[in-house]
């Protein structure tokens, strides 16, 4: 007989409203159920009612942390429809802002992990180190978050050359602080005790669940869109994909901490190599066609698909954020762990529920209206219908 422990929807350690049910036997967690849908905003339908230019501003607001990732992926999809690429300067500027975003996202996660562990020093120091990165973003794009920086064909604003020494100074300082943090994180017995061997996800499980980003790389799966599907300026700078074989919470944390070092390297090389010239290719109109864009967001691969019917609005805009694939990996991770580790295991994928929620079911009885099989049957029927029509 198992007891159910509810967590949420409004819980102090969770930033977003989601409802988690832990099925426990004594102190051991047997199973976890998660109920989402509170942040569903009807984004895909809204995207079809806006023009391509407005669309980029909308997808920026899918998630506050990945605003550069989603708008870049949407811009790539739009460029794919038209068949033009961004200018050289735009590629480098986009890469710099995207890597700055990775720095602030990973540092934010380190802070939140400290908060969940009850280790407030890590939270405070992590967020203190994160602030200068936001300053750098504000210097380059004009905004702390929601940069309004990407557009189809390039970037929206040019940057004066005299700010770069200041940005490099901020990055050097950040790198130094990050080294201190890595040292403290890897030597601390409390953090070792809480993270080592907790929530193990094996390589086979990670592949089976289709995990992405640091979650997969922490389990030894060597994937990274930046290297595998070249975009931006990543093939022109020197950097490494970080993987760790263990698959426990410690390994994922180490992947994130070391990725910040790589991001610092990428930013400094991009600033040194930054070419001149125009910041955007002019796009006058969008022809009929389909385009995809995928990029490596801080949490994994963000995927955007846009179909244009020749008007100024997309006919279909499909988005898929990395957390969608990472959430199911809770199940093998949390099985057999204690309740006190469960919340940490939920946070280890750096979940972003507002990215994920593409569907909401409103049903007061609490029973599911459609099972997975029903949905597959529906999709088969629709495919058959489309085949008959064309």
């Amino acid at each position: 007989m198992s007891t159910i422990i509810p967590i949420g929807p409004f819980h102090p350690v969770l930033e977003e409203p989601e409802y988690i049910q832990l099925y426990v036997d004594g102190e051991t967690v047997e199973k976890a159920e998660i109920d989402l849908g509170r942040i569903h905003r009807g984004m895909e339908l809204l995207a079809q009612e806006k023009t391509f230019d407005q669309d980029v501003f909308l997808v920026e607001r899918i998630c506050g942390i990945c605003s550069a990732s989603h708008s870049w992926a949407a811009s790539l999809a739009m460029e794919d429809i038209v068949g033009v690429g961004p200018t050289d300067r735009a590629r480098y500027l986009r890469t710099i802002v995207h890597e700055l975003e990775r720095l602030h996202s990973h540092m934010l996660w380190v802070g939140l992990a400290g908060h969940i562990l009850g280790y407030w020093t890590v939270f405070m120091w992590g967020w203190k180190y994160r602030e200068p990165v936001l300053d750098a973003l504000e210097m380059i794009t004009g905004n702390r978050q929601n940069y309004a920086w990407y557009k189809a064909g390039g970037v929206r604003r040019d940057v004066a050359d005299d700010i770069w020494p200041e940005v490099v100074k901020i990055i050097d300082e950040f790198d130094k602080n990050n080294d201190i943090l890595i040292g403290a994180f890897l030597d601390d017995p409390v953090i070792h005790g809480r993270l080592k061997g907790v929530g193990v996800l094996t390589k086979e499980e990670a592949i089976h669940y289709g995990c992405l980003g640091p979650t997969a790389r922490g389990s030894g799966v060597d994937i990274d869109v930046r290297r595998d599907h070249d975009y931006g300026a990543y093939s022109e700078v020197d950097w490494n994909v970080i993987t760790q074989p263990e698959g426990d919470c410690m390994a994922v944390s180490v992947v994130r901490l070391l990725e910040m070092k790589e991001a610092c390297k990428i930013i400094k090389q991009c600033i040194a190599k930054l070419p001149g010239g125009p910041i955007a290719t002019e796009i006058r109109e969008f022809p009929r066609g389909e385009g995809i864009g995928h990029i490596e967001a801080p949490r994994g691969e963000s995927f955007h698909f846009i179909r244009s019917n020749g008007t100024n609005m997309p006919e279909r805009h499909k988005m898929r954020a990395p957390t969608f694939l990472n959430i199911p990996s809770f199940r093998p991770r949390v099985k057999g762990e204690t309740i006190s580790d469960a919340v940490l295991i939920f946070a280890i994928i750096d979940p972003c529920y507002s990215c994920t929620e593409r569907m909401a079911v409103l049903d007061p009885t609490g029973q599911s209206l459609m099972t997975g099989k029903d949905l597959i049957k529906l999709s088969h029927e629709k495919t058959e219908k489309l085949k008959r029509e064309y």
Partner: protein, 137 residues
């Protein structure tokens, strides 16, 4: 000065309710607590339950699924409680006001005392808004 206004004079405790925000406002709220802005100077801090709070800070556009929870949270709060709508979504619905899952904005659901606009509002703006709210109460 009555007992209630005396209670609002110092050390406002804030309960933060995410009613469908994109994380941006929530991060900026947490940012207020961290060393650069350090809102605890003014005795303000985030609390874990609305039953301990003087201020209910609502961010996000209020989706249909979260609507009953928002009303219930407001009803559970010991009165008087000051309600603050945070961000463009909380104030007006922002870019999502045409969406089919939109049940807000916050002031249509529960009475609101202060609005802090911005997408997202900067931490300085959040602190300024709450300090102005203290003057009003």
């Amino acid at each position: 000065m009555g007992a209630t206004s005396w209670g609002f004079k110092k050390s406002l405790w804030v309960f933060h309710l995410n009613a469908g925000a994109c994380n941006n406002c929530d991060i900026e709220v947490l940012d207020c607590l961290t060393p650069r802005f350090d809102i605890e100077r003014f005795g303000m801090k985030l609390v874990g339950s609305v039953k301990h709070a003087d201020v209910l800070l609502v961010s996000g556009f209020v989706s249909r699924k979260v609507l009953p929870d928002v009303i219930e949270t407001y009803e559970q709060a010991p009165k008087p409680v000051a309600v603050v709508a945070l961000g463009a979504c909380g104030c007006t619905g922002g870019i999502f006001r045409d969406g089919y899952n939109f049940a807000g904005p916050v002031d249509k659901v529960i009475p609101v005392d202060a609005y802090i606009p911005g997408c997202p509002p900067r931490p300085e703006a959040i602190i300024d808004g709450i300090v102005k709210l203290m003057g009003k109460l």
